[in-house]
Symmetry: C2
Subunit: 373 residues, 2 copies
């Protein structure tokens, strides 16, 4: 399986709407694991890394869910291929910087991924669409259990799983959901929400993880601590907070419709007007406007048939994804901005003009919800 097969289609977590799909893009759980009595990748010699790689890869290959997986050593990947994987959230930016002794393995449906010799010997993640934290945890836990029978994990009876960085010791788990919160941003309530969430030991980040800016009104909410709570407790606490944020976003959307109708119509109209007419557009502006189109679809101004195309643009307009469509030459930023605009215009041409009259306050809960779940 080559990288074309991965990038040629949407990841599982982009296809279709999961529960709370109008607000939750995706749910993700990753586990950090290390082999007993082997130096962490940052301290290991090349031969030690290669030996870890061999063992871990062998164990992963035995997992039934990884039949037909995409497997590649990092040194075999071009800079473009690495960036493609980063843009699809399949590897971390840190892992993309790795070379000999590191590898990536991704399941055919892209729902399960493994990074070997990133910061830890093994980082594995499961990802799916919508809010489904227990489900993704079950998936990754099953893979972890399968691996444990063939790998000797570094595990301390009191501390739990040992990791290269102390912040991951314990469960080694980072669970997160990617939330689309345009109404909280428009209504200027987002910093209040971020502050409260930070205070209770959870973290809010932008689209591309640690230190990244919240473009496209996308926010990743994840657990901070990995020690002192079981995986189930962490997931329950996280899910509870996410459900509250969803509630806030839904209220903010209703308030926009009821009390800020002109602003809402204006933002949706302008986003549609610009995206369907621009001939050059930078990534950040594109994501911010696509976010508003997505909100417009959620609220009924555009037909739901437009959703998949718009969601895909969040990934397809990223630099490496644009570059892969033009293998003959290395594009500069200006050329990418032009291609990005062309791609977006093509998708937008299949979405009719916004109908602001359809932006009416929704029934108080449940009906819409049942439909998604």
């Amino acid at each position: 399986m080559d990288i074309e097969k991965l990038t040629g289609k949407s990841g599982e977590w982009l296809r279709g709407m999961g529960p709370y799909g109008e607000i939750v893009f995706s749910s993700r759980v990753r586990l950090a694991r290390n082999l007993r009595e082997r130096p962490f990748p940052g301290w290991a010699k090349k031969e030690e890394r290669l030996e870890v790689l061999r063992q871990v890869r062998e164990a992963i290959d035995k997992l039934p869910e990884m039949a037909g997986a995409y497997t590649e050593n990092m040194e075999a990947l071009t800079a473009l291929e690495k960036q493609l994987l980063v843009e699809r959230h399949l590897i971390s930016r840190e892992h993309a910087a790795k070379s000999a002794g590191s590898a990536v393995i991704i399941s055919p449906d892209q729902s399960l991924g493994f990074m070997i010799n990133e910061e830890d010997h093994l980082r594995m993640q499961a990802i799916t669409c919508g809010l489904q934290l227990p489900e993704v945890y079950r998936t990754i836990n099953a893979a972890d259990t399968g691996l444990e029978s063939n790998l000797d994990y570094a595990f301390h009876p009191r501390l739990g799983y040992l990791t290269a960085c102390p912040t991951n010791v314990g469960t080694g788990m980072r669970a997160s959901a990617m939330l689309h919160l345009p109404a909280l941003v428009m209504g200027d309530h987002i910093s209040k929400i971020i502050n409260s969430v930070n205070k209770i030991g959870l973290v809010v980040r932008g689209l591309y993880g640690e230190g990244s800016e919240a473009i496209g009104n996308l926010f990743q909410v994840s657990n901070q601590t990995t020690l002192g709570e079981s995986e189930e407790e962490i997931l329950q606490r996280l899910e509870k907070v996410i459900l509250q944020i969803i509630e806030h976003e839904r209220n903010a959307r209703q308030l926009l419709i009821l009390h800020k109708a002109v602003t809402l119509h204006d933002q949706i109209g302008r986003a549609y007007g610009v995206l369907s007419h621009a001939h050059s557009i930078a990534s950040k502006e594109a994501l911010n406007l696509l976010s508003v189109i997505k909100l417009g679809i959620d609220l009924g101004a555009f037909p739901p048939s437009g959703r998949l195309g718009v969601d895909e643009l969040f990934i397809e307009t990223q630099p490496a994804h644009l570059q892969k469509g033009v293998p003959s030459k290395k594009m500069n930023a200006e050329e990418r901005d032009t291609l990005r605009a062309t791609l977006i215009r093509a998708t937008l041409s299949r979405i009719p003009e916004p109908e602001m009259s359809k932006l009416t306050p929704s029934e108080p809960e449940s009906d819409q919800q049942k439909h998604h779940e």
Copy 2:
């Protein structure tokens, strides 16, 4: 004749294209005159102002071209009516602040206007579309000659016409043209042009005269000095410089088409996209985007039939013009922004999508020009 008749239709200078009409909005000449041995308005007592007003008005009423004119004492005008006249460039902002003892008289076709007791006893202006400085001068000179037979002007054999402010002494003439220079702005050449023009004793200002910002890529070029040159010399020098600026703007437009096609398509596309979809828009943004639509019409991306509607929006989207359409209530800025967007969407809906393929470099001169002249 009441103000409705003035504001209900386009001024003469907005209707149709004058010479060089794709770049020159309008040409204007104003003369400052005072009556001999009467204190200037700023120093005069109320009775003295009223006496000047009576005399000057009587003289103007005798001019055959002023039959059926709009005549009003400033104290009889509401704040809204005054602002309407300012937005149509029929009176100055300074004159709008005047009350008893001052008056305004405007010819039925709005090409000829008189302010009595502004800074001087009499300020008269002629205005027309396109670049027609000698023609507007002939018009205003004829009116001036007509008045002179009935009014005793303050005139000094060596200095010329005496005025309240020394900067107007001599000819008392300020001639100007309103130029639309979007390509020089896009290409970042405008400040160079403004600097050169300033160096040779001419002045460049924004849309609403002295001290105003150049919104909508509109620049008023006028003579600075009134002393030491005859009217004809001033007009010739001004026209020569304006023709050079026109040449620069035309070259800049061709350069955009040839070398900055993506930027040009992007700006035209976005202007159209935003104006046809915004539900709230401030005056400044509106004028700046309308300027780009105007450029698009000039260059062939839109059919010429859209020109009048777009030109009229430059005036019709100004605050007082919006307010006069809603006599029942005083609108706030937010309500005006909404109404402005609605008005613009309606006009834009009659202009088809831009056709970028029609943006081709034009023949080197003359063909296009002959058409306008």
